[in-house]
């Protein structure tokens, strides 16, 4: 397959994937009346900003900045903690297969339905006086993100040839300098992928945010989104607008980070 054909094929696949997103953007710019009678149309006949005006309000900025703060912090904490843990688990020898046991336990945590975790976690957070605080939410998100990050990073760390690290040690780098100068940059694609996922987990998290936060000035985006889907009906235009607004920061982040993802080094032997 030559590069041009290859490109066309990929872009066609991409386009197909994109259809619902085009619809989302189209609907966001349709007037309420046009939404009602949309049928098979993807794009609006006339641009309408009604939905945007309805969503745009003062609290939106607070909501977004809260969400960015919470999910970014949760991601950083998770990725750093998981990076160390995964490194230890991959490289070090454990007695009695304790490493596998630990990984299995981590996996079980990941498998737990968040709802059953939420109820006891609520009591715990209450006792720690962490209810209704962003710090508490960041901590609570670790239940989702940390097990995930540990498992994600295992493979990427394992892919780094041992000899490169040994060379680092011979060159005078002790553990933490080796992690910083060698392991960390070499895991970059894996770390980026992991961070994006962790970030998404935090970004779209609904349940803990609903239960653990009650001050309006600390709420996150997903709760705001649910405002547009109520028993009284779904506000389609508004829902699509908030869908776009809430996904843009993630998209920007992912676009920025993708170069690390696509960089990748040949770590082969020859």
């Amino acid at each position: 397959m030559n590069a041009r054909v290859h490109g066309i094929v990929v872009w066609c696949c991409t386009g197909l994937f994109l259809l619902p997103i085009v619809w989302m953007f189209g609907t966001a710019f349709k007037s309420p009346n046009e939404i009602l009678n949309a049928g098979a149309s993807l794009l609006p006949t006339t641009l309408s900003f009604d939905s945007w005006l309805a969503v745009w309000q003062g609290s939106l900025f607070t909501l977004i900045s809260n969400t960015v703060l919470v999910s970014l912090s949760a991601t950083v904490v998770s990725v750093v903690v998981a990076f160390f843990a995964a490194y230890g688990l991959v490289r070090y020898r454990f007695p009695a297969k304790l490493d596998y046991l630990f990984l299995l336990l981590v996996l079980i945590i990941k498998m737990m339905p968040p709802i059953v975790v939420a109820i006891p976690l609520y009591s715990l957070m209450n006792q720690l006086s962490l209810l209704n605080s962003k710090a508490g939410l960041i901590l609570a998100y670790q239940v989702y993100t940390l097990p995930f990050c540990i498992w994600m990073l295992l493979g990427f760390i394992r892919d780094i040839p041992l000899e490169i690290e040994e060379a680092g040690a011979m060159d005078g780098a002790h553990l933490f300098r080796r992690l910083l100068h060698i392991v960390f940059p070499l895991c970059a694609p894996g770390l980026v992928a992991t961070s994006i996922f962790a970030m998404i987990l935090g970004w779209n998290e609904f349940l803990f945010s609903l239960l653990f936060i009650h001050s309006p000035d600390k709420l996150t985006i997903p709760l705001f989104i649910s405002n547009f889907m109520t028993e009284d009906g779904t506000a389609w235009g508004e829902l699509m607008v908030i869908g776009i607004i809430s996904s843009i920061p993630m998209l920007v982040l992912a676009s920025y980070m993708q170069r690390y993802l696509l960089r990748g080094f040949s770590m082969g032997l020859k």
């Binding site: 000899e163 040994e166 060379a167 040690a169 011979m170 005078g172 040949s266 020859k270």
Partner: protein, 345 residues
């Protein structure tokens, strides 16, 4: 004495890899560990590097015990088989890395990297990533990274095995020059006896985790201590014949009774059309250019002869086995020196 290994023992759990090794390496020596794969040579090297722990015994560098010193603090440099270049760093960064770890200033690093690169003819490649280099270039970068900080000891772990034959012999000469130039102590691991012979001041032959013999290349070649060393050193491999068969195929007086096996190097067998002691049917012939290798059997024992005489496959090769170049081994495969024999006689 630069490096001293006393009663070094290595085991993984119940699995003993190195039963006991004692070795002394002098300052400025080029020492080669050679042996078949799995003989423990790499493990030994990695213990010197600090990458493997020492189960028991004492290792001393410059008369200081090294056992518990972390590799990063040993002032030992190592060149890996895979070169282990940092894929995300340019050549300059790779070479400068040990200096950076040692806490040198940027200017100092820059200056040393430049001079090292110059000596290795890498100056034009400094901005490249390892993935953009050829095998030989990577090799030189790996060496550059090792020499840049002037270590107490250089370790080489089969550094040439990933290169093609031509490059390998070039690099061999280069390494030899480097050693003469730096006059530093180097320990080199290989499974290739040619490399060992050409490079070493001192060869350590290892087998099953134990040292079989230590000596200069000539010593090892001329008086191998046992059949293992005898067969491992020298190419093509030494011919071995049981003492009784040797008696039949050579027209010699009876060998001392303690001799069990007789070894003759192929290039020391005479092709003697006029007065052969026996004939060998040529089964395979390999021309080397300056000579030919003839493969056949003597009374059921494989035998190789190197000679410039011109014979073909199927021909009967007239050979005679001179006494002066025979190696005698006893029932335990240990060398019996001529002195011992004459003494016994």
């Amino acid at each position: 004495m630069k490096l001293q290994l006393k009663n070094i023992h290595k085991a993984y759990g119940n699995n003993t890899v190195i039963p006991e090794v004692n070795l002394a390496i002098n300052d400025g020596e080029f020492v080669v560990f050679v042996g078949p794969s799995g003989c423990g040579k790499s493990t030994l090297l990695r213990m010197i590097a600090g990458l493997e722990s020492i189960t028991s015994g004492t290792m001393m560098l410059n008369n200081k015990v090294l056992n518990k010193v972390h590799p990063s603090k040993r002032a030992v440099a190592m060149v890996f088989q895979s070169y282990a270049l940092y894929p995300h760093m340019t050549v300059a960064k790779n070479i400068g890395f040990p200096l950076k770890m040692a806490g040198l200033s940027k200017a100092a690093i820059e200056q040393q990297v430049q001079s090292t690169a110059k000596s290795l003819q890498l100056t034009s490649l400094l901005k490249r990533l390892p993935s953009e280099l050829s095998g030989g270039q990577r090799q030189r970068v790996a060496i550059g990274r090792a020499i840049v900080r002037d270590p107490e000891l250089f370790l080489f772990d089969e550094p040439l095995s990933n290169l093609d034959a031509k490059l390998r012999s070039e690099m061999r000469i280069y390494l030899k020059q480097l050693h003469q130039q730096l006059k530093s102590t180097m320990v080199y691991v290989t499974h290739d006896q040619v490399e060992a012979m050409t490079l070493a001041d001192k060869i350590v032959v290892l087998n099953k985790g134990a040292i079989e013999q230590v000596g200069t290349p000539e010593e090892l070649y001329n008086s191998p201590q046992n059949t293992f060393v005898a067969s491992f050193i020298g190419s093509p491999v030494m011919n071995f014949l049981p003492a009784n068969i040797y008696g039949q195929v050579s027209r010699q007086q009876a060998l001392p009774s303690c001799v069990h096996t007789v070894g003759v190097r192929p290039n020391q067998v005479c092709v003697d059309a006029t007065n052969p002691s026996c004939m060998m049917t040529i089964e395979v012939m390999e021309p080397l250019g300056y000579a030919r290798l003839y493969y056949g059997q003597l009374q059921g024992n494989a035998f190789i002869v190197e000679s410039d005489a011109q014979y073909g496959v199927g021909d009967e090769l007239p050979i005679s086995l001179p006494r002066s170049v025979q190696h005698w081994f006893d029932a335990n495969e240990q060398r019996i020196s001529a002195k011992e024999v004459s003494h016994a006689a």
